[in-house]
């Protein structure tokens, strides 16, 4: 591993290595901490254990107690103290151990993290990253597979992003930590162990942009986080059916990249959004509503939502019936009248 060049960030470029998303996230936090002494990390079990998903593995050993620490077990406490730290010039990166365990911090996130900058006319920005491992497909017991993105995207003042692959995981987390705005960083649990060969520090598209992962002409399939893989598999499978599917990875849920997604939808005239969360009031509603508002006369058919059912996330043995699959997506697309 020889340093090849020094980026703006001061982090040397390393030789390509095969990294899981968890390892890429780990590297992103580590590199950010090396570059910026104001970055601190805390939460439940993020210290010596390295987090229940090992995303913070080794950081306690490397940076020590003053920069990496296990907090008492209280999520409002974690977010609330992070706010105070950010007010004093630190950049806290905190972890909510599982998605549903971010709920005790709801008031701190919604009433303060999201609103402090606005309340103070820009005088108190809060550069905080709240990492939330989310979504299912890992056979988790109750409360370990929630998709809570709709709560955060409905909250003005928050930036909400979700990577779908190791490269984005690294790049987006670095950008999130560097951002002066608070970022809800949603990590798809089922993708933690997905791998890619990366030469770090890698920089992908800007944090607020969606990307077209696969071009197609008939339908735009919109996904994020855990369902990007599903969408790509669907596109592959659709080839056999003679359907050309364009796949978009949103990456940023709030803000929504109207430009990139709108252009695709105007091109294909048909779109569907895929997510794990329940449909009713889910994030897909916003995607469908705004794309329709802005591109109605380009649409040949209504925008479809292929999502979880309107029920609590099911137990491990039933999750296969809940999660959107390529078959289910293709079946949904075939309900359109294809004239």
């Amino acid at each position: 591993m020889s340093p090849q060049q020094t980026l703006e960030t001061g982090t040397a470029v390393r030789a390509p290595e095969s990294l899981t998303m968890a390892a890429a996230l780990n590297a992103a936090i580590r590199d950010a901490m090396v570059d910026d002494p104001t970055v601190v990390l805390f939460g439940e079990d993020v210290g010596p254990l390295g987090g229940v998903f090992r995303v913070t593995d080794g950081l306690y050993a490397e940076f020590g107690e003053t920069r990496v620490s296990d907090s008492p077990l209280a999520e409002a406490g974690i977010v609330g103290t992070a706010i105070g730290m950010a007010m004093y010039g630190l950049r806290p990166v905190v972890e909510m151990q599982f998605d549903a365990f971010s709920y005790p911090a709801f008031q701190q996130i919604v009433s303060h993290v999201a609103k402090m900058r606005n309340r103070t006319r820009g005088k108190i920005p809060l550069p905080i990253v709240i990492r939330i491992p989310y979504a299912g497909d890992i056979g988790g017991v109750e409360h370990h597979s929630d998709s809570s993105e709709a709560y955060w995207t409905a909250t003005p003042g928050l930036t909400v992003v979700s990577p779908s692959n190791p490269a984005d995981a690294y790049s987006m987390l670095r950008e999130a930590i560097a951002s002066d705005d608070p970022v809800i960083f949603m990590e798809p649990k089922s993708r933690y162990w997905s791998k890619a060969s990366l030469a770090l520090p890698v920089q992908t598209e800007p944090l607020n942009r969606a990307v077209v992962l696969r071009e197609g002409t008939d339908v735009t399939l919109i996904a994020y986080g855990p369902t990007v893989k599903t969408a790509l598999a669907t596109a592959e499978q659709a080839v056999a059916e003679g359907l050309s599917v364009e796949v978009i990875d949103l990456r940023s849920l709030s803000p929504f990249d109207d430009e990139t997604v709108g252009a695709s939808v105007r091109k294909t005239g048909r779109a569907a959004i895929v997510h794990e969360a329940a449909q009713f009031g889910g994030y897909g509603a916003e995607v469908a509503a705004r794309l329709t508002e802005r591109n109605f006369f380009y649409l040949a058919a209504p925008i479809l939502r292929i999502t979880g059912f309107d029920i609590p996330y099911p137990s491990p043995k039933l999750e296969e019936y809940f999660l959107p699959t390529p078959d289910r997506i293709l079946a949904a697309l075939s309900t359109w009248e294809w004239s």
């Binding site: 079990d45 254990l49 059912f309």
Partner: protein, 380 residues
């Protein structure tokens, strides 16, 4: 409060010794050191012993099944049997238990069938026993949330003038959550008939006690709510039983809530997906293995001549029978109908859910038809 229990001088400075009725060596503690609590009778202790042995056998069996990948997860309570069994043994039939994910052996001891306990851990459904029959709430995962439910139920019972008491189990880590505080406070203000039993196993997953709280004992927290608090040796089932029973009596007679801390240790990993070597030493674990709650009571019972070889054999036989039942229940596949997913979300029917149910039904029919065709084809 220090994790470093090997260093008695430190612990001694910081906290009083926990209440014991039977000491480490299996000897009854002199009356004047027992805080006014009386050693339970030998019959009671023998019964507690039997329940602990059976519970441990269950726990070991389920942990083994989990290692084989037959369960989604299982949080073991190995080493914590004294707390778990004392808690359940202190309940009257009309009382309610509010357990956590860790307290499966408490369920077992209260009479829940292994297959019903394991339903959730093997992923069949989120929770799987008869709550009303056993008077046990679903095992709670979101930490400390169930403590509030216990206070609410206890208050409802009080309003209805029933003599029902609610007992809830919590972990040391869970006491840090806002909900624990609110539960303690509501209980004290409302004088709810509720007993809080904190199993202080000195870790919240990997986080040791000294990163969790700075007080001498968890029992000290009771002072700030205006309720009695007891710091008890959680590996002494006699003491746990005596204190919890007294608290239940107090609650039942209108005396309000009590907070009881049992100092104990989790011998196994947090769950099967945990790697405890990352945060604690084998020496530490061995130290606590040496303080085993079952062995301690065994010594006492043997010294009293109450645990004959015959009795021991019959208890072990009971335990083995249960282990067999437990293994066997895993071989029966629970019949889970995917369409049940839509059944219980609301009591009032919803057309949108009916539509989604119909959609899934069609999909399943399609799959069934497809696999029938596939079967047919492959049969040809």
């Amino acid at each position: 409060m220090s994790l470093n229990v090997e260093n008695p001088s430190l612990t001694a400075v910081l906290a009083p010794p926990p209440l014991r009725l039977i000491d480490d060596q299996g000897r009854a503690v002199p009356q004047h050191e027992s805080g006014g609590f009386r050693l339970p009778t030998v019959e009671t202790l023998l019964d507690l012993y039997r329940q602990m042995v059976v519970a441990r056998r269950f726990d070991v069996q389920v942990t083994a099944l989990t290692r084989q990948g037959r369960l989604a997860t299982y949080p073991s309570a190995l080493g914590q049997e004294a707390c778990e069994i004392a808690a359940v043994a202190s309940l009257a039939p009309q009382d309610w238990l509010f357990p956590t994910y860790r307290d499966s052996i408490a369920l077992l001891t209260r009479g829940v069938e292994p297959k019903d306990i394991l339903a959730s851990f093997r992923g069949d459904w989120h929770s799987g026993y008869d709550y009303q029959q056993h008077r046990i709430a679903p095992q709670a995962t979101p930490l400390a949330t169930q403590a509030l439910h216990a206070v609410g139920l206890a208050t409802a019972a009080k309003l209805k003038r029933d003599d029902t008491v609610a007992l809830t189990l919590l972990g040391d880590g869970a006491t840090s959550e806002g909900d624990a505080h609110e539960a303690f406070n509501f209980a004290a203000v409302w004088q709810a008939p509720v007993v809080f039993v904190v199993q202080n196993n000195q870790f919240a997953i990997s986080v040791p006690l000294d990163k969790q709280m700075a007080c001498r004992t968890i029992a000290d927290k009771a002072i700030g709510y205006g309720m009695p608090g007891y710091y008890v040796d959680g590996n002494d089932v006699a003491a746990m039983y005596a204190v919890i029973s007294a608290a239940m009596d107090l609650a039942r007679s209108g005396g309000g809530p009590t907070l009881i801390e049992g100092l104990t240790y989790r011998i196994e990993a947090h769950t099967n997906s945990d790697d405890p070597t990352r945060y604690r030493t084998t020496a530490d674990v061995d130290l606590w293995r040496g303080r085993d709650p079952i062995e301690r009571l065994e010594k006492y019972l043997v010294s009293q001549g109450a645990l004959t070889e015959e009795v021991r054999a019959s208890i072990l036989a009971d335990a083995e029978t249960l282990a067999t039942t437990t293994r066997e229940c895993m071989t029966e596949q629970a019949v889970i109908d995917p369409l049940e997913l839509f059944e219980h979300v609301y009591s009032t029917p919803r057309s949108a859910l009916a539509e989604q149910r119909a959609f899934l039904a069609t999909e399943l029919d399609g799959d069934a038809a497809a696999s029938a065709i596939a079967n047919e084809e492959s049969a040809r």
